[in-house]
Amino acid sequence: MSAFFLELFSEEIPARMQSRGAEDLARLVVEALAGLAPVNVRTWYGPRRIALAADVDSNVTAVSAAERGPRANAPDQALQGFLRKHSATRGQLRLEGDYWVLDKQAAAVPARTLIAGAVPGVLRRMPWPKSMRWGGVSTFTWVRPLRRVVCLLDGEIVPFDLRDGADDGHGIASGQKTEGHRFLAPGAFSVIGAEDWSAKLRDHYVLVDAAERRQVILAGLDRIAAEKSITVVDDPGLLDEVAGLVEWPVPLAGRIADEHMDLPSEVMQVSMRINQRYFATRTPSGAASPWFIFAANVVATDGGAAIVAGNERVLRARFADARHFWDLDRETPLEGRVPALDHVTWHAKLGTQGARVVRLRRLAERIAPAVNAGPALANRAAELAKADLVSGMVGEFPELQGVMGRYYALHDNEDGLVADAIRDHYAPRGPSDPVPVAPVSIAVALADKIDQLACFFAIDERPTGAGDPYALRRAALGVIRIIRENELRLKLLPLLDAAVSAARKAAVGNAADMAGEQVVRALNSNPGAAMLVGSGQIARLTRPVPGTDQHVDVLAFEILEFLAERLRVQLRAEGARHDVLAAVFAAGGDDDITRLLRRTDAVSMLLRGADGANLLSAYRRAANILRIEERKDGPHTDAPDSTLLREPAEEGLHRAVIASLAVVPLVHDEKYTEAMVEMVKLRGPLDAFFEQVTVNAQKPDMRRNRLRLLNQVRTTMDHAADFSRIEG
């Protein structure tokens, strides 16, 4: 075993790329050195370096490979050619079957040779998100200029350089010198291996381990928090980022000027986090504390006084700017900002935020009664929901959309429920973000997402593969989570239909406004979009809603299917029976998600029992027979004729089938567990039927009758779910 060590020392690597860079390096090195069977692979990363150590074999064991030559009876010319090609003699060949075979013995390769040959290629293949050129004409690129390469095997340099033909590779060659902290320990020094490197860098004010830097920062946060009796706002993402910005973290605390302490805490926090990478703190009561904590990268000669003063000064300027917006924004009531949304483009093909707000108001008002919200409040909240987008503060900090709207609404004495809905209508913003629970907030949050889905479906901008530029999957999951976690009973199709209708008008109206005929023609040629007939009339393709006499837009169905698919993916992620959901959805296209889930639960429960599992096999057997026989003489949908029943098992199944019709009203009444109890009673008679009865009877009328019987079993069971879609 030999100890391999590689360090790539460069100008500052963006914090967000470091850990990924180390992972990629490890993957590429392990691939390239596979012949040396690397084990115990360790990586390090930080602002100016990524490094890797591994234990490797000292050389590649000689590999023998059998080369098959010409047939034994081939002309001598062919054999001579083969020998020449491999510089072999006839005596080295052996016969294997009809062929000459040469056992080639590859020479053993020392690890140092293999590494020297492989590492330059590894460096060229590093998949940095963005690479750059620097200095001269070399085409060797790196995330930022690469300055040194340390490459050691058992303490000795593995010699190579980055030249490539005429390209000088920036004159970089492997060596054993690295550098420590830029200011605290300038200059280069030699290392002989991973441990030596790590220890010497510590002496040169560099902690090579990101986890240790993180720990030092965390300890500093805790120490300062304890000293000042405050708590630090938990922010693991920020902690990781800061650990990637410093080589020698020195946590320090600064004070926020008193005159800025009345700013909304979210404003302070966002400014500190996004602009400055500072940690916000709270008093024991949970209010914003006047202290902020940050990590410097230097042990300053004055103990950090100038650094703290400088950072306080920067924050004062930031907060002065924020205060300017905060004061100015409150001079205009939110309501007064709504008209300005008519000049803000939401999407080029869909028109303005102002037009969107008009749609949201109608939709939120329509959803309101179904979620126990006051329609007038939902309408008002939707009206004001986007107004903060044209406020100065949100212009400066887009992250504060909604949050500022709530503050400004409260300042305007709007209803508290309206104010909360303005803030919460964006929720959930991600999989771990809580969903709104207040009825008015729910109404606006659902309207926001349903309109988004309807609009982008209307212009045929649907997610494809990994691409989802308008975050429609997130919107769909948002709808699902809001409904599921609040156990809402909503019939989605009529809502989707209303949203789609408004969305189509927006798309077509906007297209006509924007570029007239041309765009309209484009829309016409697009099968997913609406068609213009005569003077701006929109012809809509509709489909009947199952079990009703209503028709809704085909797009509403497609969005419902999209929602069902997201729900299925979500269930799969949770480890639940996603195939059962698909089967239940396929059975009736139910647009009530809560009901869909309850039904899925009941069917899953059924399938967990032995009876259910057996019933499923019997169902499949019945379905298979029907599929084959239907090819011969079409469907057998008529009711079985009881006079044609001969065998006892046949009669038994007939009785069971009639009894099982009880499933239908139970499913209708959403008594799914009871429905399953009824359905599972089919199992015994069905098993007996298959054991004792030949379906394809000699007499055609008896055969037909038996097929009708099986068809009834399938139809009854399909009321609960399309069992043919269930896996396993």
Partner: protein, 290 residues
């Protein structure tokens, strides 16, 4: 901080002296209005082609939308950038930069200097590069870029570009909270004595009194002039028209008369001019060599 902090003009003189010693040509500001020092032909055009080049200069930068009628202590519609370009980028570019900060009184053992990721892109110039914001105690004191592409053309030799925001840097060095309180000359003249009135008047002009119809005509004129000059292979005069068009677009933008879609189209038009000028510049360089 040093005991007697540098005046605004002394800070500029120190930087001139420092970069002059590094072999930079010390230029004077370009005499066409522009939004940033990068637009100066000494950067945009000279960044292209295989000839080494090093220059430093102060460039007045006009950002009409940033005007605040002299009422905001941190925002100006006219301010000074100190711009350095070195082609090819020297291996010790970061060290040179830090040395320049020492030169104006910022000691890296007393202050916290960082290089924080900041990819630079100019859609109007069809240019991009990778580099950092340079932070001192949490404040951005400069922008450091390795140019990769200019005018839509990949550079033959990557340049190092450094931009210092002089007012902000001076406020830090002099410990001033308001830009108008900066010591300009060290003899009692403040920044506000020199520029406050201009900020008020230009803010009024930019936001209220410019004539959008006329500016739109001027933009079209500059575009036409640029194209016709390019037909004569006069890259430098043509590029002046491109800079003018860019500034006219900024004035129209400040006037609030450009919609989102129009905005993209204006930027695209300026980029087309910039690309053509850059191509013409390269053709001319080739001709000189032959």
């Amino acid at each position: 901080m040093t005991e007697h902090p540098l005046s605004f003009q002394d800070l500029i003189l120190r930087l001139h002296t420092f970069w002059s010693k590094q072999g930079c040509v010390i230029l004077q500001p370009y005499d066409v209005e522009m939004g940033a020092g990068t637009f100066h032909p000494a950067t945009t055009l000279r960044a292209l082609g295989p000839k080494p080049w090093a220059a430093a200069y102060v460039q007045p930068s006009r950002r009409p939308t940033d005007g605040r009628y002299g009422e905001n202590p941190n925002r100006l519609q006219h301010y000074y950038q100190y711009q350095v370009i070195m082609k090819p980028s020297p291996d010790d570019a970061q060290d040179l930069l830090l040395a320049s900060y020492r030169e104006i009184g910022l000691d890296p053992l007393l202050h916290d200097f960082r290089f924080v990721e900041d990819d630079w892109e100019s859609p109007t110039l069809g240019a991009w590069g990778l580099g950092w914001e340079v932070w001192c105690d949490g404040m951005e004191v400069g922008q450091f870029t390795y140019f990769q592409q200019v005018g839509g053309i990949p550079v033959a030799l990557p340049s190092f570009e450094m931009t210092y925001g002089l007012e902000r840097l001076a406020m830090y060095v002099q410990d001033k909270e308001n830009v108008y309180d900066l010591e300009f000359n060290g003899f009692g003249t403040k920044y506000g004595d020199v520029f406050l009135r201009a900020e008020r008047e230009y803010s009024a002009y930019n936001f209220e009194h410019s004539d959008p119809a006329m500016l739109t005509r001027h933009f079209a004129d500059a575009e036409v002039e640029c194209s016709s000059l390019l037909k004569q292979n006069l890259a430098l005069p043509a590029y002046d028209q491109c800079i003018k068009a860019s500034h006219l677009f900024n004035l129209l933008d400040a006037r609030g008369v450009i919609s989102v879609t129009e905005r993209a189209s204006f930027i695209g038009r300026v980029r087309t001019l910039a690309k053509s000028c850059c191509e013409a510049w390269l053709v001319g360089e080739q001709a000189v060599k032959d």
